[in-house]
Symmetry: C2
């Protein structure tokens, strides 16, 4: 007879297996494809080769500019049913290649699309600013009547009795929530793996991670299986997968967009709040989503959302000299881990492109970064993992200790991530008073950083402080599974509450991105990171960068990202000519 | 030889005595008045009778409309030196009657006033929107070179090496910070008493409390010893003294105004944040201060401040039908403690005045109030008093257990405040995880309350939800010292983060405000409160009410308070005619 703990073990495994089978069963039989061999790492060509999507469906899903998609939908040039069908098919292809989905509900989504089409036909009007657009949601945003598992065995079978506020608003805006996407267990990793749905891989190279925790969105949107996905970010979780998968995203400031009603890890942790953001293949998708949600007056549904309308004034860069002559600063490295060569090339490209467009680019001086790192990590660890353990314990599921349990033996693997060597091997549960001391420290660091930024006024030549910082989102492009252990390039912005976008800049080129000469290493993690770089391994991986603005500068950061994006595209063209 | 603890005891007492003497020495000899006998309770006539202020100084200090004061200052009709001198003299009179001040620095303030006058004379321009205006500050707002004691023996001698952000902004706006005002030890009482400076009394009736924790401001501004004072509010601390002393105030939402650099109790407690607000004799003072501070772009100095410009659109009540026909709801009682008769009469006055002005007034239905009360109090007590004890321990000073140590034997005194009977006699230090559970509960309560408010749309007749709630700020007017034990009429708004003003409505009239018939009591505190009411005791005390709006509705709440204030004044006049 099995012991109690053995039964519990069997039980969570059996539950996960059943859930996974249920997911498989939700895929229409006709949509199964012959999967390419596992060692075929780049699978971006498969949607074109597999025969599931007809040419019109490929045309629709290849329309990466969300603005164009919406215009065609609103003009009834494309119906929502056909657009949703096309993206759904491609999403299912993506699922079979990268394992990016959680909930699949084709019929329900198509019914909704039909409803939207009917609305347009009968009223002659679009239902809202996102009329007919299929939108994928990270497995945190509840949809009434569907399970929200968030990668936890114990949450299998939890059917939502209400929509999250974001879902409600998407419906009001005319959108078609059509699929939900994979996460990592606990949401506290920069990769995507859990016991229920397994691992999501990067469609540019399945040997590499898609990033996380919104890695399902990362892989799905990179495969053009969704025109717009919604992720969340408490330490980089929309920016890391966006950078690793070649997408645009925005990490808004705390409470600008409505999180209410979404499930979460460490719910109630308000010291560094998780936020939600769009992940998409065009900067137009970022702007359209953010503006549509803010225009819906989310503060009437979510008590925490900042009562601040979308500001066209700020979008036209009223606080940044109208955007004609901006001064960007490049954070070439953060003083803890030096970025790999492709990141440096991407930053140089930005600098040249912006200068060619008439802007100024100076160097950013990192300031008190280790203190910020330590403070933020201490806050994340304030409950010493109690929340994670409790949720796992319910089903007897183990708390995952590595994102690569079966292959975590990469020769460059660090014996421990930076956070452990900074905080020590064991975190203890803090008291409320101890947490308040961390808040005091955090406030002082935010004040110091604000003053540091304001002081750049003397060096920009514009009369203003630096308009935005350009920075890596990680010290590497997508690494092999299990090796994304440093999140501080992104966490820095969560801790300071800086509005931050990610823009795709280029791809790793083994010819152009030769290994750098060894430098003086900041620490042993920096050394290990240096040794991890291998041009052949990373060849072809997307390279994205962050554009970092101030707290609650959503409008301005989107506008400045548009400026950078345009400059890069013009510069690319110019270089080629 | 004295034991260590005896020495420590002597030591903090000696330090307090020396500090108090230093304060006395800071008063110019010529400004000492012959104090009236202690049993003369209403001291509002003394500034006119004591002979210290000449007729012009009385005219200046009697100018309660801050808008008028600023116009005369900007036009050089009155110099800042004479205005500051006049208010300083009256402040010193107030100090000798009500013990409302902490730091007194006449020479420094007059130098600053001279600087402002010189600026106007040489440039022909006002220095800023608060040009020349003397402003009093609660003993939390640091002024470089002055001590910030905040009523703690252990903080005596702590000289600030920088200005708080608010002080900086006041200087930039041309204001003259001229005096600092008394608080209660720990800031966590609705009265004003500490071992360093002693007790502040209510100038309308010194037998009654001035309220707290910003009670120094309450008494000072009520004596017209300052045209505008700045207090702080985490549970009612600007609204309670304003209601008890007959002033206007605003409790803005979290982080709309800059708190950075001010000292505080329980610093780092971010679950229910303390905010700062103006206390003044005119609603114009409230608006001018809030607008001036927001127009200064405080987010460039305080990283926590919401990046939201002053909105004329919101001030003109764009979200409230333009303000022509508003629907107010009256919270006659909150279901925990029934207010005393003068509060009911004041609410009836508001209802009649607003209806006469063309608005609608309906009843507010309190909703889940006990849950909110319990959640908020649990948050305030999350460190089980550790912060207070540590600061007191440094000097060996005892933590104060009652606001009336020498006379706390009033026949109606409750044996314990409501909070103790709800939370139990002993609070324990919570863990970070336990605090997060309180946050989850708080968010759910805020969401429920938001939905409850939105649902009033069906009953207002305006097509909008209720525009604002009118409510008592306490279930009584200023009670005798030691008896203000219930703060939930105000704390409710801190917990929900509702923007809330206080408006003075009337005075207790022993003829009009007869005791009510006994009602069914909600609890034994409600019964004790009923028994506390005595028309003779309270006769002549000011009666103020709250105007409660939504989160981050500073502009709209100010505008709606103006509408109520005008309606009351018109109605008063109409009644008299």
């Amino acid at each position: 007879m099995a012991s109690h703990s053995e039964t519990a073990l069997l039980d969570w495994r059996a539950r996960c297996k059943a859930k996974k089978q249920q997911q498989l069963d939700a895929i229409p039989k006709a949509w199964h494809i012959d999967p390419p061999p596992e060692h075929l790492f780049n699978v971006q060509h498969v949607p074109y080769a597999c025969g599931l999507l007809n040419p019109r469906e490929l045309e629709i899903t290849d329309t990466t500019d969300v603005h164009v998609l919406l215009a065609k939908l609103a003009a009834a040039e494309w119906s929502s049913v056909e657009v949703t069908t096309a993206f759904y098919k491609r999403a299912i292809v993506a699922q079979q290649l990268t394992n990016c989905l959680t909930e699949i509900f084709v019929e329900r989504a198509l019914q909704r699309a039909q409803e939207v089409d009917d609305y347009l036909r009968t009223t002659g009007k679009a239902m809202g600013p996102l009329h007919g657009l299929p939108i994928s949601l990270k497995d945190q945003f509840k949809i009434k009547g569907l399970e929200t598992t968030m990668g936890y065995a114990s949450w299998i079978g939890q059917v939502a009795d209400s929509d999250s506020v974001l879902t409600q608003i998407l419906y009001e805006c005319g959108a078609v929530p059509f699929v939900r996407t994979n996460v990592c267990q606990t949401l506290n990793w920069g990769e995507t793996f859990n016991h229920v749905f397994g691992r999501t891989t990067n469609p540019w190279n399945r040997y590499l991670t898609a990033g996380g925790s919104s890695g399902g969105e990362g892989a799905l949107v990179a495969m053009k299986g969704s025109p717009l996905g919604i992720g969340t970010d408490i330490g980089g979780s929309v920016r890391i997968p966006s950078a690793f998968c070649g997408l645009y995203t925005l990490r808004p400031s705390y409470e600008r967009l409505p999180y209410c009603g979404a499930v979460n890890s460490q719910e109630g942790q308000e010291s560094i709040s998780s936020v939600l953001g769009p992940m998409t293949n065009s900067i137009s998708g970022v702007k359209l989503f953010v503006k549509a949600v803010i225009d819906s007056k989310p503060w009437e549904k979510d008590p925490l959302v900042v009562r601040k309308e979308w500001s066209e004034k700020e979008y036209t860069l009223s606080e940044h000299g109208g955007g004609k002559k901006l001064c960007f600063a490049v954070m070439w490295d953060n003083g803890l881990l030096k970025p790999h060569p492709p990141l440096w090339r991407a930053m140089r490209m930005c600098k040249k492109a912006l200068e060619a467009a008439g802007h100024t680019v100076i160097d950013w001086q990192p300031y008190r970064m280790m203190e910020i790192f330590k403070n933020a990590e201490s806050i994340y660890c304030a409950d010493a993992g109690h929340d994670f353990r409790e949720v796992c314990r319910e089903a007897g599921e183990p708390v995952i200790q590595t994102m690569s349990p079966e292959t975590n033996k990469h020769e460059f693997a660090l014996d421990e991530p930076l956070v452990q060597s900074v905080l020590g091997p064991e975190q203890k549960m803090l008291t409320a008073w101890e947490l308040w001391q961390l808040h005091k420290e955090k406030r002082a660091l935010r004040k110091a950083q604000l003053d540091h930024w304001q002081a750049t006024r003397d060096t920009t030549g514009t009369g203003r402080p630096v308009d935005a910082i350009i920075s890596p989102a990680a010290p590497y492009v997508a690494p092999p599974h299990g090796l994304n252990n440093d999140y501080f390039y992104t966490t820095f912005c969560n801790a300071m509450d800086y509005t931050t976008s990610v823009v795709p800049v280029t791809f790793v080129d083994e010819e152009l991105d030769r290994p750098a000469l060894p430098h003086e290493f900041y620490n042993r993690h920096d050394k290990a990171n240096y040794e991890l770089y291998d041009p052949k391994l990373f060849h072809g991986a997307p390279v994205g960068l962050q554009v970092i603005g101030r707290t609650q500068e959503e409008e301005a950061v989107i506008a400045m990202t548009e400026i950078l994006d345009k400059a890069l595209k013009t510069y690319d063209t110019a270089e080629r000519e």
